[in-house]
């Protein structure tokens, strides 16, 4: 119960602080809150957009949570999702004639494979060479960005536009968009994300590999002494994470744009860290946190249009305040200690 209560309270605390900031900026907090709510959940289109923003955050949140359970910090989801999306788009652009449903299956496979490889590299480096995954995943983000630029601009450039994007994928690749959201691009990627969360839960809590991964995360020496191959678990955890991040490409390329656009991600990979943190690195928590951050993203877009003094950047302020209050674990124990006697 407390595990649930604490993040919720932290969110409320962060929100109140954030609204205080809007007050200073010269807007009525109540007004801001109304707009936030309306813009995120006010119509089926708004709600659809919230879901659309949440979907990639579920994937990246999981991509941070899984390695975290194994004691690893994946800051490379951004690079992993970039390459996943690029791979899906490349398959669709190079073989546009493949029919449905083979085509999306192929593209999904490509996205997962690209992300998996991009996650496995720092895993391998950590396991075999002992170099720290935080440094390597950050560095690989830059490599991925450079690689994506090169492939987009030199190999798969869309000749019909000035925008930095690839040729569109074949029609057989596009996945179903749900009509009930008033045109918001909510596609099959959303149920895929929920499925991924369920599978991650099974992996972590019901399989031998998941148990061994968590054991390594808890106490590497004990895991090693018990005969667990800790290096292998490190590689598996980061590879799985990469694959999950790669799936972001499915929603973007097959469910929304139909092509790879450079810079399509508003840093989903990094927001994923916050999502995992708020979701306590649990799959269900990640889904809930992703919804919250998706709603914030959409809601603050409304603020930009409808208020005079508050801009989109407030979204970042709100996110930051929520993360701060979530991570203030010390504050919690301090408050509890004060209550106890």
């Amino acid at each position: 119960m407390r595990k649930l209560f604490q993040p919720v309270l932290a969110v409320a605390f962060g929100l109140i602080l954030g609204l205080g900031v809007t007050r200073i900026a010269g807007e009525s907090p109540w007004h801001v809150l109304q707009i936030l709510w309306r813009s995120a959940f006010g119509s089926s289109y708004d709600f659809g957009m919230t879901l659309f923003y949440s979907t990639p955050l579920i994937f990246t949140g999981l991509a941070v949570a899984v390695p975290f359970q194994a004691g690893l910090f994946n800051i490379g989801a951004e690079g992993q999702l970039t390459l996943g999306a690029l791979a899906a788009a490349a398959v669709g652009a190079v073989w546009p004639g493949v029919p449905w449903p083979l085509a999306p299956a192929l593209a999904i496979l490509a996205a997962v494979a690209a992300g998996t490889i991009w996650g496995a590299i720092p895993g391998w480096l950590r396991a075999k060479r002992g170099s720290h995954e935080v440094i390597n995943t950050i560095m690989l983000n830059f490599v991925a960005a450079g690689l994506a630029s090169y492939v987009t601009l030199y190999l798969l450039k869309n000749p019909d536009t000035q925008n930095p994007e690839t040729r569109p994928v074949g029609a057989g690749y596009l996945i179903h968009q749900f009509g009930i959201f008033g045109g918001a691009p909510v596609s099959l990627a959303l149920p895929l994300a929920i499925l991924a969360a369920v599978l991650v839960w099974i992996l972590l809590w019901r399989t031998v590999v998941g148990y061994e991964m968590r054991a390594v995360g808890q106490n590497e020496s004990a895991a090693r002494a018990a005969g667990i191959n800790t290096g292998r678990m490190t590689i598996i955890a980061l590879a799985v994470a990469g694959g999950l991040a790669g799936l972001v490409g499915v929603g973007e390329v097959l469910g929304n744009a139909g092509k790879f656009r450079l810079g399509f991600s508003p840093e989903y990979g990094f927001i994923g860290i916050a999502v995992a943190l708020l979701g306590r690195n649990q799959p269900a928590g990640v889904v809930a946190a992703a919804l919250l951050f998706g709603a914030l993203h959409k809601g603050t877009a409304g603020l930009d249009l409808e208020t005079e003094h508050v801009t989109r950047e407030l979204s970042l302020v709100l996110q930051a305040l929520i993360i701060l209050s979530v991570s203030a674990d010390g504050l919690w124990s301090w408050m509890k200690k004060r209550e106890a006697p």
Partner: protein, 567 residues
């Protein structure tokens, strides 16, 4: 052993004579220290047994240094302390003993202001006190050395000591002034420290000395030490107690929390026994004996020295190492293991005795992870007839090798995870607990519940984190898990380290039973009691070599001690 005792007695007597006018012989003012020592040597040797209790009997003050009256503390539904009464005379070493979880630490933490009592009074030097936080207790002259040191690794010894009470000049720490003060403290109490050395580079014994100096620097008159010897080697332990006696003779009052009967018997003036949150006895140490204390601690008659029946070992080898070596960290440095060869038959307990740091840890790592170049550089390892030198740890363990790890929290447990998951560690791939990569939660619950019952792990709750169990129960959980393998070879390292008397008896019995069921047992322990009680054969390790071998009953503690010291 006696030898040490006398030497320490002598040295202390010399120090005391210098300080205490009351027992200074005439003419000694001008005499050299050595001279006095020689002159009083005979006298001191004959006095050595009683000399420790002198200050207690000499005490004339009637106000207690510390008095706890009816102290009560509940955590949830558990009575951690229930009407605890405790009286500590000033200038004494007072033992506070009890099994893990008996409430002795809780009482001390209330005395130190870490949390307030639900009921009862704390009286310090005759004055009733209420602490809002440890800062108040510190201000009133109470200091505590925690079991896990509170030191900042990369900082110097000096900086660690003054941390939080820095002398400041013009906004800058006045290290010179601190140093002058510390130098005089160190001289007064005989606690030399290299002030400039980084903490993490100092041995544990010196770190502890720094913790004590921290308290003295803050003018503590009452020192609480929580299990101070848990992390020390025997030499460091002797050193510590010599220092504590110095402190006592300088008028400090010392509360010693421990569960080691030997320490209580040798070094305390009075002792208070805790069991299940209550005080079950308080007496002068000279009026009691280990058996009585053990019974009071456990609440039943404890067998302190179990009688181990003679082994009926088989010819079959459970374990054999030949020419095992591990090179030093750099070329040319001393080898950590050199040419270690021995074997363990099935149905036999072979004990490796030695002072900590003579290659025992390296030996354990080498036989458990022979494939890894950091663990073994030469030699072969055979378990149960198989050459396992190039096997990975899992394959080795699957042969039927149970391991009680040296450091159970670091190498044996997932402290934040529930008991059931800890029970699974290392067994997760066995057919009993998994199928096709999926865990069988039901089998796990059943088996874990059964094991917790059979091995008497308390409380009988599979869902609490292993870190919440007491040390003894953590060890029982590990033994339960490892013996689940039906081992044919048991490698038990420090099986009784930090474990209370009841659990020691239990673990010893289990090891003997495993032997009688045909397992070979390799026992590595710094506790001579473990070695002498259990081993059918004793090997002594010194500087990475096996330097002696004895059969059961053919060696005294004293002889063994000499071999361990390298002579």
């Amino acid at each position: 052993m006696d030898h040490h005792f006398e030497r320490r007695a002598l040295k202390l007597a010399c120090n005391r004579q210098f300080r205490s006018a009351a027992i200074k012989p005439p003419g000694s003012v001008a005499a050299s220290r050595q001279g006095i020592c020689d002159a009083t040597r005979l006298e001191v040797l004959t006095l050595s047994a009683q000399i420790w209790t002198l200050p207690a009997t000499m005490a004339v003050e009637t106000t207690a240094a510390v008095e706890l009256r009816g102290l009560t503390k509940r955590f949830g539904s558990v009575h951690a302390n229930d009407g605890v009464n405790l009286r500590v005379e000033p200038g004494t070493i007072h033992g506070v003993i009890g099994e893990n979880g008996a409430g002795k630490s809780t009482a001390m933490k209330m005395l130190y202001g870490i949390f307030p009592p639900d009921a009862g009074e704390i009286i310090v030097h005759g004055e009733k006190r209420v602490w809002a936080s440890p800062a108040d207790a510190i201000a009133a002259g109470i200091g505590m050395v925690h079991q896990h040191f509170m030191l900042a690794g990369p900082y110097s010894a000096l900086d660690n000591i003054v941390l939080g009470a820095e002398p400041v000049r013009l906004g800058v720490i006045d290290r010179r002034r601190a140093r002058i003060r510390l130098d005089s403290l160190a001289r007064q109490y005989g606690l030399p420290v290299d002030w400039g050395a980084a903490i993490e580079e100092l041995p544990v014994g010196v770190q502890q000395r720094i913790e004590i100096l921290k308290l003295l620097y803050r003018d503590a008159r009452i020192l609480i030490l929580d299990e101070p010897t848990a992390v020390l080697t025997p030499q460091e332990t002797n050193e510590l107690f010599r220092n504590l006696k110095n402190l006592r003779d300088e008028g400090k009052t010392i509360l010693l929390i421990t569960h080691k009967l030997k320490e209580v018997m040798s070094f305390t003036d009075r002792v208070t026994v805790f069991r299940a949150g209550k005080v079950t006895g308080e007496m002068a140490t000279s009026q009691t004996n280990p058996q009585e204390l053990a019974n009071l601690m456990v609440g039943r008659k404890v067998v302190l020295n179990i009688n181990v029946p003679v082994a009926r070992s088989r010819d079959e080898l459970a374990m054999e190492v030949v020419g095992l070596g591990l090179a030093g960290p750099v070329r040319g440095s001393r080898h950590k293991l050199s040419d270690v060869s021995f074997s363990v038959r099935r149905g036999e307990i072979v004990g490796i005795a030695g002072v900590e740091g003579n290659g025992q840890s390296e030996l354990l790592q080498a036989v458990l992870h022979p494939r890894e170049p950091l663990c073994r550089t030469s030699g072969t390892v055979r378990f149960l007839g198989e050459d396992v030198t190039h096997w990975d740890a899992r394959k080795i363990r699957d042969l039927g090798v149970a391991v009680i790890p040296e450091d159970r929290q670091r190498e044996g447990l997932l402290l934040e995870r529930p008991v059931s998951e800890n029970f699974l560690l290392g067994l997760q791939r066995s057919s009993a607990f998994s199928h096709a990569g999926l865990l069988n939660a039901k089998n796990l619950q059943t088996a874990a519940a059964q094991a917790v019952e059979e091995y008497d792990v308390r409380p009988r709750d599979l869902t609490i984190p292993a870190g919440n169990l007491s040390g003894g129960n953590q060890q029982k959980l590990i033994v339960a898990r490892e013996f689940q393998r039906q081992p044919r070879l048991v490698i038990a390292a420090q099986p009784t380290r930090g474990v209370d008397v009841g659990a020691i008896e239990f673990v010893h019995n289990r090891i003997v039973r495993a032997r009688d069921e045909g397992a070979g047992v390799l026992l590595v322990s710094f506790e001579l009691e473990d070695i002498l009680t259990l081993s059918d054969r004793i090997l002594v390790m010194y500087e990475g070599r096996i330097v002696a071998e004895f059969q059961r009953g053919q060696v005294t503690e004293r002889e063994l001690g000499l071999k361990m010291a390298g002579s």
